[in-house]
Subunit: 186 residues, 2 copies
């Protein structure tokens, strides 16, 4: 499919901000297929992360209400977090589910992986669907946010993508990808 569509070539890159491990920004000069050179195209390195849609035996999603500093609001979220150094996505997903909610689950299925920003990069997001989730421990996130774990049917989460309660892109994507994978009619 890709033969007629050509890649951009990076001819030079300069670091313009180093806030590792959270953020690193580059300025790149790129040569387009038509020969033009675009100067100072910004690209962002940021940590990869996972997002989990875990369903209980009763078909409820293990969701969270918490404040996030990106939207600057409280909203409905899902278990999610950054990969630790050298960690693979699936164990990271299982670790985040357990840490943030106290739940474990079975039958883990990947729902895809995607670069966060189509132009600038900004890390890769990995999505997982799991079944038979059950709580085995209290939450122990150790994150900065206070998290309230809440069980909701998937159709309520779909409705929350339209009314502003879901306010982060990766959470909306996880809900939509889960609906597509499960073939449910919200």
């Amino acid at each position: 499919m890709d033969d007629a569509l050509r890649l951009w070539e990076v001819v030079a890159r300069r670091e313009v901000l180093d806030r590792r491990p959270w953020l690193r920004v580059w300025s790149e000069d790129v040569r387009l297929p038509d020969g033009r050179v675009i100067v100072d195209f910004s690209t962002i390195e940021a940590p990869d992360f996972v997002v989990v849609v875990a369903l209980t035996a009763d078909n409820l999603v293990v969701a969270e209400r918490n404040y996030k500093h990106g939207p600057r609001r409280v909203g409905l979220h899902l278990p999610a977090g950054y990969l630790e150094p050298g960690e693979e996505p699936l164990p990271a997903a299982q670790r985040e589910l357990l840490e943030e909610t106290g739940y474990v689950a079975e039958d883990w299925t990947p729902l895809g992986s995607f670069v966060v920003d189509g132009n600038r990069g900004c890390g890769t997001s990995f999505f997982f669907l799991a079944h038979a989730a059950r709580q085995i421990a209290p939450p122990n996130a150790g994150d900065l946010e206070e998290i309230a774990v809440t069980l909701l049917p998937l159709d309520a989460l779909v409705a929350a993508t339209r009314n502003g309660q879901v306010n982060v892109l990766s959470i909306a994507a996880a809900i939509g990808l889960a609906v597509a994978a499960l073939g449910v009619h919200p």
Copy 2:
């Protein structure tokens, strides 16, 4: 729902990178509800953008194959683009659909809006579903990428979220949100 979950307070912020209109990075000191102050939390300002799922009378999605510099690969995408200064999301969505594909559509429905990065911000994404799309002009994007317009059933796009052909988060989100809105079984 939000009474028990408290907000973070920004007590100081410093600009650390100014690449407007594309990117501006701030370092913020934030006070958490428990009184701790987190120093140098990075937040990113980036332009807001729209993504369009437009269906033809034959229920095919107006999709695109093109290179994107975020994933550094060619992939399957949807009509999308940044809001122009002062532009509202719906007219931006209609403009981008026409510019990138030559299509117009009817019955536009919002599918939600979401901050791109839950922790850092990085702009807001606005999603739209439209029906009765028909081509009235050749594409004339004026963008940096070469775009190949392609019509695909929605279930083929869902499959493409799993096999790596859809490689950008906002495109995966649009496909999932459209499936949820349409109640289809891919």
